[in-house]
Subunit: 198 residues, 2 copies
Amino acid sequence: MSGSTDEIENLIALMAKLPGLGPRSARRAVLHLIRKRALLLTPLADTMSQVAISARECLNCGNVGTSEICDICEDPKRATGELCVVEDVADLWAMERSGVFKGRYHVLGGTLSALDSVGPNELRIPRLLDRVISEDISEVIMALNATVDGQTTAHYIADQLQSQVRLTSLAQGVPIGGELDYLDDGTITAALRARKEI
Amino acid sequence: MSGSTDEIENLIALMAKLPGLGPRSARRAVLHLIRKRALLLTPLADTMSQVAISARECLNCGNVGTSEICDICEDPKRATGELCVVEDVADLWAMERSGVFKGRYHVLGGTLSALDSVGPNELRIPRLLDRVISEDISEVIMALNATVDGQTTAHYIADQLQSQVRLTSLAQGVPIGGELDYLDDGTITAALRARKEI
């Protein structure tokens, strides 16, 4: 035994399953929670119970929210004819934080991967093709990660949509605040090829 | 807005208050929880609620458990006359994992600190002095951290207990598997001073 009781051990074991927490940090987190019972542990337990009941994937775009159709898909102001395709919900949230995109999203739920045998039907690709027609989309913006699988998926989708809509992808180049010395060769090559007049 | 709803935002904000998680890793953890709702989110919410109700500090030693007197203090086999003094519950758990100490513990709840105005009465020091007499303790083992505050606290307690019991502290030296090249000068000095015949 480790000096704590079953319930607390159980909580530590569950916390250790979270991404970013190992057994040691899970223990530290649990002691912190017990110390801040009223301020943190109880509200966290309650909020988790609520989210466990209410969280669902938007039937339209795959975003996570608390209703069948998410706030973004419900908002008529966002029917701009632009659809931003992302790999997962974390990417959608990252785009939303920047606040610059005013259209709607489509969350694929991953990338095509021969190794993991993920084909188009395992992703939300058929639904994307439907939406392009039914929502009268004029531009599909590929905001997939700049990885091999991400780019393969972007090409596959581009093939499927060819000539139906305008297809664009996020620009590649030097990140804002980035130092050339710390960038990989591929990024520098991409930034040079896409150079712009000042 | 960030593309998620209030409840989920709320959960992210609470998770970000855990030690070891920032806003980004909290978001990642929440998405992971929502994906693994049945396997992780619901059990975690339930276990947290249970622990929020049942967790308490042992009235005797300060360990965290689910009863007024913790399992270690209740166990008559551990009344060995040895008392191990630690700063906090995480240290007690670390000692227990090693499995080598068979006596009981006393959790101070911190260290003396002039800067943070923590005096003996803010810690569990008066209770320690009582226990040494009431539990017929023959040896007090100081397992405080090798920091300035930890060592100051150890000296203060040693002063209070002088001549009543045998006072010992954990040995200092090279950690098992440690490489000299990576050790600080203080540790090497301590290890050399405490060198042993082979």
